[in-house]
């Protein structure tokens, strides 16, 4: 079973977390009037076979949204940080482009 190391709570089975999807993209700033920007952000995915930056929320624990790097080819979980420390819009963070 996948385990995620929550920076606050420690290592827990992934079932304590809620998946939040791709975190590699920068969220367009509030009010960005370009629909294309929102389209790309919401609907297009790199979907890599390899390291994947993704959100998980420790919703059965400290309720923090985490930014996790996980290898989709092996499911091995790498670095985990609090999403709020990833920089505005979570565009940066571990394994960032």
């Amino acid at each position: 079973m996948l385990a995620i190391h929550c920076p606050l709570c420690g290592e827990r089975p992934y079932t304590e977390f809620r998946y939040g999807g791709d975190a590699s993209k920068r969220r367009p700033a509030l009010g960005t009037m370009a629909p294309e920007a929102w389209h790309d952000y919401l609907f297009l995915f790199d979907n890599p076979k390899g390291p994947h930056r993704e959100f998980w929320q420790h919703d059965q624990g400290c309720r923090q949204w985490l930014l996790v790097v996980r290898d989709t080819a092996t499911n091995a979980v790498g670095e985990v940080i609090l999403a709020r420390n990833a920089g505005a819009g979570a565009g940066e963070g571990p394994g960032g482009r």
């Binding site: 998946y19 791709d22 389209h39 297009l44 995915f45 790199d46 979907n47 994947h52 989709t72 080819a73």
Partner: protein, 418 residues
């Protein structure tokens, strides 16, 4: 084609004469009119219909492993056409109609078993939702019956009707023509039929890149060298993003794991396909006797093709909640497939922004039942270089356009929620 029949079977049994190969072991030629990437149900069906419906015989299917290695060979084999959203309804019914003639068409028994699918409802709101679906089906000439609890009980006496049931059964929607198909036979049957029409099926040949310039795609790089082709179609199921990425396309697709499960073989027990209404869970019994069941995707992107244990527990819980007697049966094996998930749960069958490159992907849970219609429509789309009318709703740019929703169950725009 060397036709299969009972009398042939007898003659072979008596004479011990060897059977011919079902399909040739083709070596890549240098050039094809159409090259299809992916020897799953979709790729093979497309090749077959290109040859059968459009008279194209310089067609190749290149498959990285062996045909049927992907999801066509590992799915829970449900076929049905109980779709409600415009576009889906027509497409899946067309597919079911093709299934109904497929064994004869291919001269290969794909064992379509129209034993009926029953979707259960556990609340009045769910009953209404099923009614809406069933009404749409009937209005589109598709068979559907709304069942009250008593009728469900008559058909499925082994469900939990006790006071202990956490989610009591209120009723259900039955599609009598729905059922199962022997999954591997679909790949083999299409392969054999396509091969007999001259299609090259090239196994052990992974596409690693595209030959492309400003005028579009001209062929592919493979582990076995370059192959030129006037038109190239992608039909690689869970790997759509990866292969399209080789051509520089980014898709509205994420790859997720879906697990499937089979119990030890038992005498006939579950004689329908049943879908639980409390959670995504569905079950049927294979002709060998195993109860085949599945649930939701594991829930996070992955290419590992193996599942996580919590999901195993979760489906086991559903199994016992639905059919208490299953508690004493043994799980024999569980496996996973890699499946494209899209923001609306709907697929893509279309041309792409790159000329001569066609895409078929994003099938989520529903690609197996779509196989004949995908083959038919994608073949037409390739042959005419224009989307077949039945797949116009499956365009790649629909999110950019804000087109009508294909979201059958209203799960919103997150691929991993569908």
């Amino acid at each position: 084609m060397y036709r299969y029949s009972l009398s042939r079977l007898v003659r072979h049994a008596l004479s011990d004469r060897p059977w011919p190969r079902a399909w040739r072991e083709a070596k890549p030629r240098s050039h094809y009119d159409v090259l299809i990437i992916g020897g799953g149900g979709h790729g093979l069906a497309t090749a077959y219909y290109l040859a059968a419906n459009h008279g194209m015989d310089r067609v190749a299917v290149v498959e990285r492993a062996h045909i049927g290695a992907g999801n066509v060979g590992r799915n829970t084999t449900l076929v049905r056409s109980n779709y409600m959203m415009k576009g889906n309804t027509e497409f899946f019914e067309f597919s079911l109609k093709l299934w109904e003639g497929l064994s004869h068409e291919l001269n290969f028994n794909v064992m379509l078993s129209q034993r009926g699918q029953i979707v259960l409802a556990h609340s009045p709101a769910q009953m209404d939702a099923l009614a809406r679906r069933g009404n749409i089906m009937r209005l589109n000439g598709i068979d559907a019956e709304l069942l009250e609890r008593a009728e469900v009980r008559r058909l499925l006496p082994y469900l939990d009707y006790s006071a202990a049931a956490r989610f009591p059964v209120l009723g259900g929607l039955l599609q009598g023509r729905a059922g199962t198909v022997r999954h591997d036979a679909v790949a083999w049957g299409y392969a054999r039929a396509a091969d007999s029409l001259g299609v090259d099926i090239i196994e052990g040949c992974e596409v690693t890149g595209f030959l492309q310039d400003r005028s579009g795609v001209h062929g592919v790089e493979t582990g076995r060298g370059r192959i030129l082709a006037d038109r190239v179609a992608i039909a690689v199921a869970g790997h759509s993003s990866h292969v399209a990425g080789l051509a520089g396309l980014r898709l509205p697709i994420e790859s997720h794991l879906l697990q499937a499960f089979v119990t030890e073989p038992i005498k006939p027990f579950v004689n329908h396909v049943i879908s639980f209404g409390a959670e995504l869970f569905y079950i049927s019994q294979s002709d060998k006797g195993g109860l085949v069941f599945g649930g939701h995707i594991d829930g996070f992107n992955s290419y590992t093709q193996r599942g996580q244990f919590p999901k195993v527990r979760q489906v086991a819980e559903c199994a016992v909640a639905l059919i208490p007697g299953m508690s004493r049966l043994k799980l024999l094996r569980h496996w996973a497939g890699i499946q494209d998930m899209t923001p609306d749960g709907g697929p893509f069958v279309c041309r792409t922004p790159i000329r001569h490159l066609y895409l078929n992907g994003g099938w989520c849970y529903q690609g197996f039942k779509a196989t004949p219609a995908v083959g038919w429509c994608l073949a037409a789309t390739i042959a005419r270089d224009e989307e077949h009318p039945l797949v116009r709703c499956y365009a790649l740019d629909r999110f950019a356009r804000g087109a009508e929703s294909l979201d059958e169950y209203g799960h919103g725009h997150w691929p991993y929620r569908h």
